[in-house]
C-alpha cells in the first residue's frame, strides 16, 4: 500500500487545542463582517431595494400618481412647512416624492434585472461561441461586437424611442442589446482562459467531447465572473435609466414613476425646491453604490483561487 497520509496537523491539534469559546466565535464572526464589510453593506442595500419594490404598498399609503395641486412643492417632513403625510415632500404637481421613490425601485429593478438578463444571455452565447471556436469565426464575431460598441449609443436610443415609442419594455430592450457586447467580451476572455487551463486539457485526455467540456468545465467556471459582471452592469443600467429619463426618452412618467423622470422633472427646481430632484438622486446613488460593493464582494467570494485553503 502506498505511503499513507498520517493524521493531519488539524486532527492532531484539535486534540490538543482548547475549545473555541463563544467569545472566540463572536470575534471570528465580527472579523468576517469587518473584512467583508463592503459586501455586507452592498447586500443590505440590495435587500432594502428589493424589499421596497415588493412591499411598496405596505411601506407607503400614498399613491405615486395622485396629483394634488394644493399640496404641491411641499418640503420634506422635518422642515417647517412639511408634513409627515409627505415625508420627502411633494413635487410641482403635488405628487408624493417618498412614494414615488419607493415605487421607483420597481422600475429600477426591472430595468436592471431584465436588462442584464437579456444582455447576459445574448452576450454569453456570442462570447462563448467566439471564445471556443477561435480562429476566423472568433475574429468575425468580435468584429461585429466591436461594431455595435462603436455605435453612438444616444443615437440608437433616440431612434428606438422615436420609431418604437417609449415604454418600459423598449428601455429594457435597448439596454439589453447595447450592453450585450460587454458580456460577450468578458465571456470570450474567460472562455479563452478556461480553455487553456490544465483541467480542460485533462478532460480532453480522458476522452471528453465538447458538450462535456462546455457544460461540465467551462460554464461552471464562467458563472462566477459573469455574476460579478451582472451586478456591476445592473448598477450601470440604473444609472443609464436616469440618464434616459433626464433626456425624456425613458418610460413615460404617467406609466411608472422612475427615478430618471423624477430627476428630469426636478431639474428646474434645483435652486428653489431642491428636494424634488435630490431624493431620487440619492436613491440612484445609494443603489448604484450598493450594487457595486456587492459586485466587488461577489468577485472575491466566487473566485476559487481566492478562497482560503482551510483544511
Amino acid at each position: 500500500m502506498a505511503d499513507k497520509e498520517p493524521k493531519t496537523q488539524q486532527t492532531v491539534d484539535s486534540l490538543l487545542d482548547t475549545e473555541k469559546t463563544f467569545k472566540d466565535r463572536l470575534a471570528y464572526f465580527g472579523r468576517f463582517l469587518w473584512r467583508d464589510r463592503g459586501g455586507v453593506i452592498g447586500l443590505t442595500v440590495f435587500l432594502i431595494v428589493v424589499f421596497a419594490a415588493v412591499f411598496a404598498p405596505v411601506i407607503t399609503k400614498q399613491d405615486p400618481f395622485t396629483q394634488d395641486l394644493r399640496a404641491s412643492k411641499l418640503p420634506p417632513a422635518w422642515k417647517e412647512e412639511g408634513t409627515w403625510e409627505h415625508p420627502f415632500g411633494t413635487d410641482s404637481l403635488g405628487k408624493d416624492i417618498f412614494s414615488r421613490v419607493i415605487y421607483g425601485t420597481r422600475v429600477s429593478l426591472m430595468v436592471g434585472l431584465f436588462g442584464v438578463l437579456i444582455a447576459g444571455i445574448l452576450g454569453m452565447l456570442i462570447g462563448a461561441i467566439a471564445g471556443y471556436a477561435g480562429g476566423r469565426l472568433d475574429a468575425a464575431i468580435m468584429g461585429g461586437v466591436n461594431l455595435i460598441l462603436s455605435l453612438p449609443y444616444l443615437l440608437f436610443v433616440v431612434f428606438i424611442a422615436t420609431v418604437l415609442g417609449r415604454s418600459l419594455i423598449n428601455v429594457i430592450l435597448i439596454f439589453g442589446i447595447t450592453d450585450a457586447p460587454i458580456f460577450a467580451r468578458v465571456t470570450r476572455g474567460e472562455v479563452l482562459r478556461i480553455r487553456e487551463s490544465g483541467y480542460v486539457e485533462s478532460a480532453i485526455s480522458a476522452g471528453a467531447r465538447w458538450p462535456t467540456i462546455i457544460f461540465d468545465h467551462i460554464i461552471p467556471n464562467l458563472i462566477g465572473p459573469l455574476i460579478t459582471l451582472a451586478t456591476f452592469e445592473m448598477s450601470a443600467m440604473i444609472f443609464y435609466e436616469a440618464g434616459l429619463g433626464f433626456l425624456g426618452l425613458s418610460v413615460p412618467p404617467n406609466e411608472y414613476p422612475t427615478w430618471g423622470n423624477m430627476l428630469a422633472a426636478g431639474r428646474k427646481y434645483m435652486t428653489s425646491y431642491p428636494w424634488i430632484a435630490s431624493f431620487p438622486g440619492l436613491a440612484i446613488m445609494f443603489t448604484s453604490l450598493g450594487m457595486n460593493l456587492l459586485g466587488d464582494w461577489l468577485r472575491d467570494v466566487l473566485d476559487p483561487r481566492m478562497r482560503r485553503s482551510r483544511k
Partner: protein, 334 residues
C-alpha cells in the same frame, strides 16, 4: 574572522484576516566576513521571510517584526537592521548588502536598459558621475561574463535569456562591493546547465571580492557545493545549524535526516526506495507549544509534544533543536 551579522531571536508575524501567521519564530544565526551560509528549508519554513525582515522588505501591515535584533557591521559602524528607518535601509540595500532574487524578470525593470539599471546603483550608492558609472558598469558586465558589454549596455532585459538576466542581477548586486550578498533561490528557475554556470560565477566572484554570502535554497545539492555552514529551517524555526560536511555526515535533527534521505543521488547504483517524510509542512496559523516537526517525526516521544525544543549544542560548532538523540536511539540526556 570577525562577525559582520548577528541575528538574535527574530520573530516576524503576519496579521491576516484568517488569523496570525507565525512566519518566523525565533531565528538566530551569525555570519562572519567572507563566509558562505546556506539557509535550507521548504515552503513555509520561513527562510525567505527571515531575509526580507532583515532587508526591510516586509509590507508592514500586515507584517510585523515582533522582536529580535540584527546587528550589522556596516562601514558606518554597528547598527541594528531591524530598527533602521526606511531611508536608512534603502541606503544599505544595494550598497552594503546586495541581493539576488529568484526571478530576474521581476527584479529587473523592463523599460530601462540594463546598463541604466546597473549605473543607477553606482550613482546612488557610490556617488559616481554618469560617465564613471558607465565605465564601471561595462567592467561589471564583463566580470559577470556578459559578452560584448559595450553593446549590451544599451540592451533591454527582454533581449536576454534567463541565465544572462540573472548575471545582470548579480552585477547589480556586486556593483557597490557589498559586505554581504543575500541570494534567495537564484538558480531555481534556471536550466541545470545554466545553473552550473551561475554557481561557478558566484564562486569566482565570492573569492575575488571576499564577500559574505547568504544563499537561500531548498536544493541540498547546490548547498553541498557552495556553503561553508548550513542552517536548516522548519516551520519558521531553526532546527539545525552546522558546518557543511558535518551536516551531511552527521545530521542530528530528524528533519535533516529525512531531507537527506529523500534525495535521489546521481551516483547511486541501485535505486533504493527514497525515504520520504510522511505528512505535510505545517500550517503557520496555529501557534505551537510543541516541536513543529513532531507529527512527521519517526522518533517523537512525549517530551516532544510538551515543549518546544531549543537549539542546543550537539557537536563541534553544531547545534540542533531536538530532544531525541539519533545516535543513541533514545531521548537526549541534558
Amino acid at each position: 574572522m570577525s562577525i559582520i551579522l548577528k541575528v538574535e531571536d527574530l520573530v516576524t508575524k503576519f496579521y491576516t484576516l484568517d488569523g496570525v501567521v507565525n512566519a518566523v519564530n525565533g531565528v538566530s544565526f551569525e555570519l562572519s566576513e567572507g563566509e558562505t551560509l546556506a539557509i535550507v528549508g521548504e515552503s513555509g519554513s520561513g527562510k525567505s521571510v527571515t531575509m526580507m525582515s532583515l532587508l526591510g522588505l516586509i509590507p508592514l501591515p500586515p507584517g510585523k517584526i515582533e522582536s529580535g535584533t540584527a546587528a550589522f557591521q556596516s562601514d558606518a559602524g554597528l547598527c541594528d537592521l531591524l530598527t533602521l528607518s526606511p531611508e536608512e535601509l534603502r541606503e544599505i540595500r544595494g550598497g552594503q548588502i546586495g541581493f539576488v532574487f529568484q526571478d530576474p524578470i521581476s527584479t529587473l525593470n523592463p523599460i530601462l536598459t540594463i546598463g541604466e539599471q546597473i549605473s543607477e546603483t553606482l550613482i546612488r550608492h557610490k556617488g559616481l558621475s554618469i560617465e564613471e558609472a558607465r565605465e564601471q558598469t561595462i567592467k561589471l558586465l564583463s566580470q559577470v561574463g556578459i559578452p560584448d558589454p559595450e553593446l549590451r549596455y544599451k540592451a533591454y532585459p527582454f533581449q536576454f535569456s534567463g541565465g544572462m538576466r540573472q548575471r545582470v542581477v548579480i552585477a547589480i548586486a556586486i556593483a557597490c562591493t557589498p559586505k554581504i550578498i543575500i541570494a534567495d533561490e537564484p538558480t531555481t528557475a534556471l536550466d541545470v546547465t545554466v545553473q552550473a554556470q551561475i554557481i561557478e560565477l558566484f564562486k569566482e566572484l565570492r573569492d575575488a571580492l571576499d564577500v559574505a554570502v547568504i544563499w537561500i535554497t531548498h536544493d541540498l545539492g547546490v548547498v553541498a557545493g557552495l556553503a561553508e555552514r548550513v542552517l536548516v529551517m522548519y516551520g519558521g524555526r531553526p532546527v539545525e545549524i552546522a558546518a557543511v560536511r558535518e551536516l551531511y555526515k552527521n545530521p542530528k535533527h530528524p528533519y535533516t535526516l529525512g531531507l537527506l534521505g529523500a534525495l535521489p543521488s546521481l551516483e547511486a547504483k541501485e535505486s533504493k526506495r527514497l525515504e520520504s517524510i510522511q505528512g505535510t509542512p505545517p500550517d503557520l496559523l496555529i501557534p505551537l507549544k510543541h516541536c513543529p516537526f513532531a507529527w512527521r517525526c519517526d522518533f517523537a516521544f512525549d517530551r516532544c509534544w510538551e515543549e518546544i525544543p531549543p537549539l542546543i549544542t550537539v557537536g563541534d560548532q553544531h547545534r540542533a533543536a531536538c530532544f531525541f538523540d539519533l545516535e543513541k536511539g533514545g531521548p537526549r540526556d541534558d
